[in-house]
Every structure is written in structure tokens, then in C-alpha cells.
Amino acid sequence: MTDPRRHARSYLVTGASSGIGLEIVRLLADRKHSVVATGRRDASGLPAHFPDVPYLSADMADAAQRHQLLLQLPPELDRAILCCGAGFYRSISQETAADIQRIVEVNVVAAIHLAHGLFPRLRECRGRLGLVGSVARRGTARMPVYAASKAALHGLARSLSIEWSGIVDVKVLDPGPTATGMSVAAGRPADWLNRLMLSPAAVAHGIIETLEEGGTFSRTISYVHVARRKLFGCAA
């Protein structure tokens, strides 16, 4: 297994103002990597424990803001971890057209746009692209739009991992249920599952390390994955 602390790398992390993205940025900053973080919030709205790294505010649902973000990024990047995500816990007949458009734009179109724009930088250093998906991509009742958008992200990663083989390593990393607060914001009622959710820090750790590994393009960051890492220091 590669020790990510061995070499300082340059990272882009989207969805960095909260949840898993925030924990990824904190871990990378602790390990002295160079990080550019981006999220929808203004910099003034970042949490107090946000690390001292460059932060660019950009709404991933806005193509013009994504374009502007790509122009502002440093010319060299070793890694990009695309964490931003949106979704609601509701049936499809309760979804509005505007919400469907926003979820697909943030979860799928933004990933396509950024992957396209980041390709020259990542190719230059034989870099890695991590798309943060969800186990919901297998199909989850009452989250049809979110689940379907994550399935599309999975298809994108599969396609790019083949197409960019030997040029840029592409992985889709699917966390299991994680205690980020997103499920509450999405409208999912609290139940027993909330008590079993993975911590964002454990998932962030798993994402950073799994991105450095070889093997298949699709990996799950689950309870089993986290436990095995704790016990044996590596994933199954």
C-alpha cells in the first residue's frame, strides 16, 4: 500500500465546505499536501476548523462558475477528488423539475465538465481522478433521482477508466451511509441507521487511501472496508 504521507502532492477537492469533502481537506492539509478546496459556500461561511488552504467558492450547478473555477486552478495537479453532491429523500412524483435538474447538474454534469477541464493537468503528471459516488447507485427506494445520478457517475467512471487507462487513473469511490448531515438535509427521517453511519473522517481517510491503490475502478468505502483497515492496515 502506498503511504500518502510519503510524497507531498497537489489536490483539488470539490464539495469541501462540509461533510466528507471537508474531512478530506483537513486530512490532506494535516499530511502537508498542497490543496485547493472549493465549495458552494462563501469563504466567510466556512466552519472554524477549516484548514488554512486556498478556497474558491463555486456553485457546481452553474456551468459558468465551473468554467471560472477551472481557469483559476493551478497549472499542475496530481489529484482531483470530486465530492460535491446533492439529493433528496422523496419519491419521483414528489420531485420538482428544478430539483431534478439541479441534482443531475451537480452530481453528473459537473463531474463531466470538471473531468474534461482537468484532463490536461492530470495527464501531465499521470494523475488520479476520484469521483465520490454512493452505494445508493445500486438502487434505493425513495431516492430515485439521487440513486440514478450516482449510477450515471458510476458509468462515467467506468468509461473514463477504460478510455484513460495508462494516462489518468479514474476511480469511483462509493461511501456507505455517512454521518454528514446530508441525509437529514435531504429529508430522510432519522432512524436506527443514523446510529450506524460511518464517520466522515473515516470515509475521508478511506477515499484518500483507496484512490492511491491499484485494482478496479469502482470501490466501496463501507463498514467492512473501514474495519479491515483498522485491523489489518489495508482494504480487502
Binding site: 456551468a63 443531475v104 438502487g139 468509461s159 478510455e163
Partner: protein, 175 residues
Amino acid sequence: MRRVKVLVIGAASGLGKAVVAQAAARSDRVCTIDVDIHAVGDVDGVVASVACDISDACAIEQALDTLEQEAPFDLVVISAGISATGPFEEIDPALMSRVINVNLTGTMMMTAALLKRSMIARAGRLVRSTGPERMRLLRQNHNSLKPFHFILEHTLRKEWSDKPTDDCQICVLAA
């Protein structure tokens, strides 16, 4: 005997056009939606045709307003779709966005609108045609986003399994 009511979305070409021909041949009462409604042509059995870009939420509402009197449909086939092929990094992101907006967003907006308006008959069928998922093994073919359709079906099937008589059946056919 009551004629089966069929709505075909993406009816001007390919599978959609073939479905229209088959449905008309068995004397179904057929309605069509397509961005290029002139390309649907005059087919016996087609009682209404409406122009609509399914990536446009307002256009969907207007199209369904027009077809509301023909509802509920026993069979709805969503066959609308476009593609972008070639090396990923050489395809214009705006074109790829358009593919997603039609194939993914448009499918979901149309499905949601049909259900909200109860335009699919009780125990009716909603069919989404798609490419074979195995196409994922081909390079430079961004039909690899097709798993989306299977997961949408899988999710809705799970959700509706509790009340099978209240809602329609959904299936995805890979061709």
C-alpha cells in the same frame, strides 16, 4: 372493445418510430411526442402528435397539457435519446451536458410529470428503452451512462412494490 392507449416519446426515429408503427398496426390509439414532430409523419392510428424537447421542463408541461384528454395511457414508451461519441477530452462539454439533459434529466422530468398528472393508467406500463449495459466495455462511447436507466427502474420498482395496484409497472428494455 376499448383500444389500448399508447404514448411514445421520441417517436420520430429509431426504436420509437418502430414502436409507433407496431402500435398503430395493432389498432392502438397512439399519441407521439418528439422534438421534431414533422419527422413522425402521418401514420394511421396516431391521433395526436406534439413537439417537445424533453430537456425543457416547461415544454413537457405544455405537451402534457395538450395530451391530457387522451390520458390515462396504458403504455408509455420513452425512447428519446441523443449521444456524443469520440475521445472524451475532445467532445465539447456543452454537447455532453446536452446528452445528460435529454437522456437523464429529461427522462426523470417526464416520468415525474406523467405520474403527478396521473397520466399513466392503473396497472399501465412505463417503458424506457436504452442501450445494452454491456456497452460499458466499449471505449469512446458515452452510452456508458445507460446504467442510470436500470437504476431508476430498480429504485422505482422497489418503491412501488408496496402498492403495485396503485401505480404503473416500469421496465427498462435494452436494445
